[in-house]
Symmetry: C2
Subunit: 158 residues, 2 copies
DNA sequence: AAATATTAGTACTGGATTGGTCCTATTTAT
DNA sequence: ATAAATAGGACCAATCCAGTACTAATATTT
């Protein structure tokens, strides 16, 4: 199926949490607590997002992470791309990868791009603000597979 | 990243080939030849598509597969769903799976559905006809990862 | 009627992807 | 100075998926 990677899933959840606390730093352990995700994984994900320029980080004591832009200005495509690289349903849709050596002859390529563009276009219209719950949830988020419960935190929530 | 499963990828390519030969049966080995995919994999995929009712199959000598409906009537969502099950970017978007036990309290669920609906909606507008090349290609199709070339067939084409 | 050709169904195996963890360095507030 | 937090990188493990093979069923052709 077309599915989001776990990390991309986490990213959106974490970003949504941060969007719920604008103008204040949040730390990785707190976000882990709030989302019910393991701390190391949260830390890793936040690093990726900061590296991509979607979050600003403050080191040291009283440090943490905060959104750089307003949630309305952040399409989910950007979050996904930050964690997983550009959205490409098939390799066909990736440009300038010298792998496709007969691309000039391949009529399917442009067709694959249609599908890819459809998905990206749809996703570009969804912003982080659309994903931010009105009331701040203290509800753990469950990713794609239920196998996550090694520590048995919280409960399964979708 | 959001990526199509290999099988879903194959399915669309195979269906597109069949769409290029309407009103005639095509056999698994022929389709494998034309697409450059391994025969057993093609056979497996065709079985899935037939089982889902997207293809009609004819057993025995001079048998083969053919589209049941016209290519214009087949949204790619249906092809993907036939092979991989319903499109669900996260488990959150799956309904009636008793896993999410606090769903009434979880405000994120409806937000995930927004993303899912955006993707499904976009994909529903793309039909198999959009994916069928005007000229019948004898060009092998390359799936997501280049690791396919065990037999070194043809070349990499996207 | 027999033989051949083709799909139906199923189970197994190997590998690649990725997610999760840990360790060390660096920075900042108290 | 110490503690608290992120930065960065390396590594391990497990899950998922694709590819294969084998047997059964069915239809055509001779």
């Amino acid at each position: 199926m077309i599915k989001l990677s776990r990390l991309a899933d986490y990213s959106i959840v974490l970003m949504a949490q941060l969007a719920g606390h604008p103008s204040s730093l949040m730390q990785a352990p707190d976000l882990a607590l709030v989302t019910g995700l393991p701390v190391p994984t949260v830390a890793k994900t936040l690093k990726l997002l900061a590296h991509a320029g979607l979050l600003e980080s403050q080191r040291g004591a009283k440090g943490g992470y905060a959104l750089v832009r307003a949630a309305e200005e952040i399409p989910v495509t950007e979050i996904i791309a930050a964690v997983d690289g550009p959205i490409a349903l098939t390799d066909c849709t990736i440009e300038d990868d010298g792998v496709c050596n007969i691309e000039a002859l391949c009529p399917t390529k442009t067709n694959w791009r249609k599908i890819n563009d459809a998905v990206v276009g749809a996703l570009r219209c969804v912003t982080l603000a659309d994903m931010t719950p009105q009331i701040a949830p203290i509800v753990p988020h469950r990713p794609f597979e239920p196998t996550l419960n090694h520590a048995g935190q919280g409960g399964d929530v979708g």
